[in-house]
C-alpha cells in the first residue's frame, strides 16, 4: 500500500464508522442534488421549448371576411415568390373550420356553438419561412396598400409575445433555481462540514501525532476529503435514481401538456442524462470537498 490507497481506505472506513451521521450527510446532499437537477432539467426543457417554438414560427395571415378569395390568392402568390418562403398554403374559412373541429373533436359543447353558417374562423394564408429570424422579409407584400386593408391580423407577432413570456418564465425559474439551490447547498455544506468535524474530533489525537511525525498536510487532509467525496458520490447515485423515477412518473403528463411542441420529457431526460449526471457529480463532490477542507483547515496550522 502506498499513501494514496492508505488515504482512500482511511476515508472509507471513516464513512462507514460514522453510521447514521453518514446517512444524514448523504441525505441532505441527495436532497440538494435533486433540487439542483430539477432546476437544471426545467431550464434545459424551457430553453428547448423556446427553441422549438422559435423554429415553428411561420407567418399566418388572417383575412377579413370581406376580402375576396381572388385577392387573397394574389397575395398568396406574391408571398410564394419571396425568397424566404419555404411553402405557402391557403386555408379557406371552410377548411379552417374543419381543422378546428378536428382539433376539438372531444369538446362537443364547443362544436355545437359553431357551424358553417356561423363560422367565426377567418380565411388565412400560412407561410413557412426558410429562416424564422427574417420574417420581416414578407412585410413588403403584407404591408402594401393592396394587402393591408384586407388583413385582420398576423400571427408571427403573437408568437413572439409567447416566446417573450416563456423567456421571462425561464429566467424566473433560473433566478429562483439559483437562489433555492444556493440556500440548500449551503445547508448541505454545513451538515457535511459538521459530520466531518465530528470525525476529526474523534481522531484529533491521531491528527496531532500525524503532524508530529511529519505527515504532509495532504496525507492528513486526504481521508476527510475522501469521506466528503463519498457523501457526494453516493448522494449522486441516489439523486439520479430519484430524479429518474420522478421523470418517469410525471414525464408523460408533462409531455401531454407540451404535445403541441413535441416534447417527450422522459426521452428528453435520457438524452440529457450525461449533463445531469455531470452536474450532480460536480455539485455533490464539490459539497463534500469544500466542507471537509473547511473542517480540517484549522487542524493543519503548523
Amino acid at each position: 500500500m502506498n499513501s494514496f490507497t492508505r488515504i482512500i481506505k482511511s476515508g472509507f472506513v471513516s464513512f462507514y464508522r460514522n453510521g447514521w451521521l453518514s446517512v444524514a450527510a448523504t441525505g441532505i446532499v441527495t436532497f440538494a442534488l435533486v433540487l439542483v437537477s430539477t432546476f437544471v432539467l426545467l431550464l434545459l426543457l424551457g430553453s428547448s421549448v423556446i427553441k422549438n417554438i422559435q423554429q415553428k414560427i411561420d407567418v399566418e395571415v388572417f383575412f377579413k371576411d370581406d376580402a375576396k378569395v381572388a385577392d387573397i390568392i394574389t397575395i398568396k402568390d406574391q408571398l410564394a415568390q419571396n425568397s424566404n418562403a419555404a411553402s405557402v398554403r391557403y386555408i379557406s374559412k371552410k377548411e379552417a373550420l374543419e381543422i378546428y373541429k378536428g382539433q376539438n373533436d372531444r369538446n362537443q359543447k364547443l362544436l355545437n356553438q359553431i357551424s358553417e353558417e356561423a363560422n367565426p374562423l377567418p380565411a388565412s394564408v400560412q407561410v413557412k419561412a426558410k429562416n424564422p429570424d427574417k420574417l420581416d422579409a414578407f412585410n413588403q407584400t403584407l404591408e402594401s396598400d393592396f394587402a393591408k386593408p384586407m388583413i385582420e391580423s398576423r400571427s408571427d407577432k403573437e408568437n413572439r409575445d409567447i416566446i417573450q413570456r416563456l423567456q421571462r418564465i425561464v429566467s424566473f425559474i433560473r433566478s429562483l433555481g439559483i437562489f433555492i439551490s444556493l440556500v440548500v447547498l449551503t445547508f448541505a455544506i454545513l451538515v457535511v462540514f459538521n459530520t466531518i468535524r465530528i470525525t476529526i474530533f474523534s481522531r484529533r489525537e491521531e491528527i496531532e501525532i500525524m503532524r508530529l511525525v511529519g505527515a504532509s498536510n495532504w496525507y492528513i487532509r486526504g481521508p476527510f476529503v475522501v469521506e466528503g467525496v463519498f457523501y457526494g458520490v453516493i448522494a449522486t447515485a441516489i439523486a439520479m435514481l430519484i430524479v429518474y423515477l420522478v421523470v418517469l412518473a410525471f414525464g408523460p403528463a408533462l409531455s401531454g401538456y407540451l404535445r403541441d411542441i413535441n416534447e417527450d420529457v422522459p426521452s428528453y431526460f435520457r438524452a440529457n442524462l450525461g449533463i445531469i449526471l455531470v452536474v450532480q457529480l460536480i455539485t455533490g463532490i464539490g459539497v463534500g470537498v469544500i466542507s471537509s477542507m473547511i473542517a480540517i483547515r484549522r487542524h493543519l496550522k503548523a
Binding site: 500500500m1 502506498n2 511529519g214 505527515a215 503548523a302
Partner: protein, 228 residues
C-alpha cells in the same frame, strides 16, 4: 547542528516566553535544557520542532533557517528530526508495532519496507517481543521506549526529548536516559528538556539553564541549579 540567534518569542496578549536566546549546539552533543516550569523550556522545544515560529531572531538546523518554514515544508523538516514527549503521544488503539509503522506510513513508505523496519527499530529499544502488545499493556518506561523507537524511524540526526521522564518513576526514568545516551553514542544529537535534578547531575553533560525566558547559564559539564 542547531544555532539560535537573538531569538525572541512572545505569545498573543504580549506574554513573553523567550528573549535574547543565543544558543549553538554542535553535532553529536548531548545537551540538557533545565529550568523551572514556565522558564521557557517548552517554548524552546516548540521552536526547534517548528511547532511555533520565533517572533524575532533566527533558528538554523543543519544550516537551514527554520524560522520561516512554510506549512508545506514543516512535515518534511519533521521527518528529519525525532521528537519524544512527556505524554508519549502513542495511539492506544494501535499495537506497538502499528504505532511505529504509522509514522512510516505517514511519510509514504512502502508496506513491505515498513514490515522489515519495524522489528529492527523495536530491537534497538529492546522491545521486539512487545510488537503485538497495546500501549495500555506496557509499563511507563516501556511506553516511552516505544515513543523513542518511533522517533527513530527516519534515522534522525537530531532527537529532541521534552520531559521524557516526567511521568516515570526513577527506575524507569533512568532506563530512558540510558537509551538516550546510547542513541547519542550512535551519532545522534540529543536535546533533553527536563527538571529532574538527579538525572542532570548524573549525566555530566552540557547543561543550559533557562529562567524567565532567558538563558542564565550554559555549562560544558553542568549540574542542575537554577541560580546564576
Amino acid at each position: 547542528m542547531i544555532k539560535m540567534v537573538n531569538v525572541k518569542k512572545t505569545y498573543p496578549k504580549g506574554i513573553l516566553a523567550l528573549e535574547d536566546v543565543n544558543l549553538s549546539i554542535g553535532a553529536n552533543e548531548f545537551v540538557s535544557i533545565v529550568g523551572a516550569s514556565g522558564a521557557g523550556k517548552s517554548t524552546l522545544i516548540r521552536l526547534m520542532i517548528a511547532e511555533e515560529r520565533p517572533s524575532e531572531g533566527k533558528i538554523f538546523v543543519n544550516d537551514r533557517d527554520i524560522s520561516h518554514l512554510s506549512h508545506k515544508q514543516v512535515p518534511y523538516y519533521r521527518r528529519k528530526i525525532g521528537v519524544v514527549f512527556q505524554d508519549f503521544k502513542l495511539l492506544d488503539q494501535k499495537t506497538v508495532g502499528e504505532n511505529i509503522a504509522f509514522a512510516m506510513e505517514v511519510s509514504g513508505m512502502k508496506t513491505s519496507e515498513i514490515k522489515k523496519s519495524v522489528p529492527k527499530i523495536l530491537k534497538m529499544v529492546g522491545l521486539l517481543e512487545k510488537q503485538q502488545a497495546f500501549p495500555k499493556q506496557l509499563s511507563g518506561g516501556e511506553i516511552q521506549r516505544v515513543a523513542i523507537a518511533r522517533a527513530l524511524v527516519h534515522q534522525p540526526k537530531l532527537l529532541i526529548a521534552d520531559e521524557p521522564t516526567g511521568n516515570l518513576d526513577p527506575g524507569n526514568a533512568w532506563e530512558i536516559i540510558q537509551l538516550l545516551l546510547k542513541i547519542n553514542q550512535f551519532g545522534t544529537t540529543v536535546i533533553l528538556a527536563t527538571h529532574n535534578k538527579e538525572i542532570v547531575d548524573a549525566l555530566q553533560k552540557r547543561v543550559v539553564t533557562l529562567k524567565d525566558g532567558h538563558i542564565i547559564k550554559d555549562q560544558k559539564v553542568g549540574r542542575y541549579s537554577l541560580k546564576k
